[in-house]
């Protein structure tokens, strides 16, 4: 999705993390440390010379929450992509942003134009508050990504206006 609107080819930045896990087949119960790299897509839109919008894309599983922590500081907000074939993959991200009160919108990713669900069904399945904008989208389409970004910024501005009354 980042690639559809970024003026530069999406770059990947990586972080090496150490995960501690107890192997299921490890009889002694000794913790094992594994090292993995976590990749994040990174894109940029230059609005004008003194205003640059950075876009960061991360996987949605909850073991990547530590990336969201750093990314959401100072961020306008987030776009959570829901894959109708695996809706539960975005539960962790939704939880994260809701709990921290970080503005977000949800894009329901439709593959190959196939609309398997409507927005209401997905909203109910994900238990997302009615005030959170949710749009059908195609993460491979530039215009679709634009609409998600616009929805996010408008949502943040609307929240800000309401809060200041």
């Amino acid at each position: 999705m980042v690639g559809t609107v970024s003026e530069i080819d999406p770059l990947r930045t990586e972080e090496v993390i150490t995960e501690t896990s107890v192997g299921v087949d490890n009889l002694t119960g000794v913790e094992q440390k594994t090292t993995t790299t976590v990749a994040m897509d990174f894109g940029r839109i230059t609005i004008n010379p003194d205003l640059i919008l950075y876009l960061f894309g991360t996987p949605g599983q909850d073991r990547f929450w530590f990336m969201w922590d750093e990314l959401s500081q100072g961020a306008i907000g987030a776009i959570v992509l829901a894959d109708t074939r695996r809706l539960d993959n975005c539960f962790a991200a939704l939880d994260f942003f809701e709990r921290r009160g970080i503005p977000f919108v949800v894009g329901v990713n439709c593959f190959n134009g196939a609309q398997l669900y409507n927005v209401t069904e997905v909203r109910n399945a994900l238990a997302v508050d009615r005030r959170v904008p949710m749009l059908l989208c195609d993460a491979r389409e530039r215009d679709s990504t634009k609409q998600l970004l616009i929805a996010l910024v408008e949502h943040v501005m609307s929240d800000t206006r309401h809060a200041s009354r």
Partner: protein
Amino acid sequence: MSAEEAWYDDAAGPLVRSYMATGGRTHAKRYDLDLITLVVAVDPDAHAPLVEPDHADVLRICTYPSSVAEVAAKLDLPLGVTKVLISDLIERNFIIFRSSWQPAAPDMDMMQRVLNGIRNL
């Protein structure tokens, strides 16, 4: 297992390069560098010959102001390692940095400009 295979972790990718670049250091806490902190080289042409190749690469990339994330992506090195390299160069005053300005509440003017900018894409 050949010597080459031993240094390549399937999941993590090449491990050796990061350590060689920073002498084993993978995290830098000296300066407040986050993903979108802007860094720029003071005089890359003059300073590049004075530093190690990996540091010289950073200076080259920072000829124009770049975010830390961009530097890491272009160098193809993990973020932690990139921050260490950048910190080394800041310490020698070869690179200067500017923290991203984070207002307490979203700035409506700025948000409107962002909105207009996205609509014009």
